[in-house]
Symmetry: C2
Subunit: 210 residues, 2 copies
Amino acid sequence: MKNVIEALNWRYATKKYDPAKKLSAEQIETLLEAARLAPTSFGLQPIRLVNVTDPAIRAKLRTAAHGQSAVTDASHFVVFAATTDLGPKQVEEFTALVAATRNVPIESLADYNKMIGGTLASRTAEQNTDWAAKQAYIALGILLLAAAENEIDATPMEGFDAKQFTEILGLAKLGLTAVVAAAIGFRAEDDSYIKLTKVRFPKEKFIIGV
Amino acid sequence: MKNVIEALNWRYATKKYDPAKKLSAEQIETLLEAARLAPTSFGLQPIRLVNVTDPAIRAKLRTAAHGQSAVTDASHFVVFAATTDLGPKQVEEFTALVAATRNVPIESLADYNKMIGGTLASRTAEQNTDWAAKQAYIALGILLLAAAENEIDATPMEGFDAKQFTEILGLAKLGLTAVVAAAIGFRAEDDSYIKLTKVRFPKEKFIIGV
């Protein structure tokens, strides 16, 4: 396993994947599990991870993603989705999960429940979905680092038609909307992007000391 | 170093830090560097990381964060900030950085420059800042996993007055706005949250196979 800095310097947004190289069951399981364990605000987990294995669906997604080959050629393709219409229903569901997991009475969680509900109620539906979407990016970051540490390539992807993705994946009926995606697999040896030097603002510019 | 799943199961949103335990210079350097190396859409890095070391400023931030003790008691406290008013200025700056890093003529990047500029111009200033904020969450996720793997505690934090944080840190004059924060340090042994079982929706619910 690579250490954090080695891994982040090794990774790059892979453009061309080797379609013959697949993640092992254990490798993909680790990455999905890492996303599941990612923290979210309040612990509410207003996100889901769609693991798209149907080649026909991946072909449709590729069309809705400017034809990017990674969508179909990478070993795996996952879409992070955010919960829409956040409100009392999700708070109740979460509270029940906390009570069951920690073996405490639901009543003991009334204040926490009320605080989360109050926060959601203070915002518009659009603001809540946007807030949920941000939580998805935490999980994305964790998945990307986890992949790189295990020498698995991954490409974070915003360049797609989110409405079409949501439609193709049938997410609306699940109360979800597509937010961001990641292709996961192994780089093709002739991916011309491998050779490009990583571009980052220098430490002196990126870090602000106060 | 813990592996990914061990690390994510070990970590929790630490509430009470041991104020006597500090990260080594190497440890904080690794975490700041991990955030700097985090990927962002287009590679534009429309974010900065504020490392708040002045105790007086941390005291003010604590007040603007519902008095949460982690703000002052953790070894370190960082605030992720997003660039506001994204437009041609940032695209030019980024293009110059790419050209210098990869030793290519700026003219060779004209198409890429135009694509990024076109994307930014197609959205409102508010939408661009919100998009920049999402990139900060990728870096946050990476920092959280990197910390946990090194057995460093961290608490992601949205529960603060972002306007006050922006004001206290003097971010507006730098074209930045506070987005999300993280306390970083070592748990107090008597933090009652240590004992709580982690709550996550089960795999069958969190992962959607398509």
